[in-house]
Amino acid sequence: MDKSVQLKGTAIRESDIKEGKVLSTQWVPKAQYAWDTGVAIGRFLEELKGGKIIGMKCARCRRIMIPPRMFCELCYQPCREWVYLQDWGTVRSFCVSHLRWDASRMKDPFLPSVIELEGSTKGMGFFHLTGEIDPKDMKIGLKVKAVWKDARERTGAITDIRYFKPV
C-alpha cells in the first residue's frame, strides 16, 4: 500500500478559507527591483525605441552578437564595434505554449521562438514571439519579420517589437 495514503493529514479546501472555517493570514510582499542594464543592453534598448536592432561585433573572432555585449565570451576580448542588424530572420527553434507565465491555461497558444536575425552570426539567437501564424504551420527555417509598435508607443523595451510574422 502506498505509504502516503496511511498518513493522516488535514484536508483544506479553498472554500474553507473563504468561508472562514479555517483561519489564515495573507500577505503581498512588495518585491520591487531595478536592474542596471549596463552599457550594451542600455544601448540595445535605446535603439529598439528608435526601431532598430543593434548587435556587437568581436574584433577577434568576427562574430556579430545579439543581444550586444561589451566583451566576447569566447575570446575574452573587449568589444566596441556596434552593428545594426535586420529586423527579419529565420526561426531556429520554437515552442507552442498553452500556458502563461503563471501556469494558467491559454486557449490560443503563443509561440516563443529563437530567431536568427539577418546580419548576425549563424547560431546567434534572438528570443521573441512569432505571431500571425497558425501554430500548425510553424516550422524551423521559417522566414519571419518584426512587427513593431508605433514609434510613439515604444518605450525602449523588448516588447517594442510586438512579435515576428511570416514574411
Binding site: 483561519l23 518585491a31 527591483y33 536592474w35 542594464t37 552599457v39 534598448l45
Partner: protein, 159 residues
Amino acid sequence: MSLLERISKNIQLRSWEGEFPVQYLYTFGVAGERFFRQIKENAKILGARCPQCQITFVPPSLYCERCFERTEDWVEVGHKGEVYTFTVCYRGMDGLPKNPPSVLALVKMLGAEGGFVHRIGEIDPQEIKIGMKVEAVFKPQAQRKGSILDIQYFRPAEK
C-alpha cells in the same frame, strides 16, 4: 569599452524596473488554528502542555520541542506576560522618522515557555524595562479576525 563611451552623467544610467507579483496565504495548522480560534472568539490565550516535561508552550505546538512528546493538554495562560527583550523604533518601514516612536517587545507569557513579538502601548518609550509585567489588550470581538493583531498591543500591567 572606450573612455569616450563611458557614462559620465547619472541621468544616462539605464535600469530596468519591475515587480515580482508574489503573494501568499498561510494557514496556521492544527495547533495554530485552535490557538487563534480562541483568541478570535473568546479573547483567550492558550498554551499546549507537554505531559512529560510539564512545560507549557505559547504559541502552542502539537509536539514538545524538547522530548517530541505529543502535547495533549491545552491550558489557558491568562493575559499577563513579561518583557523579555524590547526595541524602540524611531523609524518606520519606509525609513522615515516615526513620531511618536513605537515600542516592540518579545513578551513571554507568565507560566509558559516562548512568547510573542508584539507592540507595547500606553507606555512612554523611556520607561520600558526588561522584566516589566505587561498584559494583552484585545480588540473588540467584532474586529477580531483570528490574527496575532487581534491583540492590539500589550500594556504595562496593573499591580
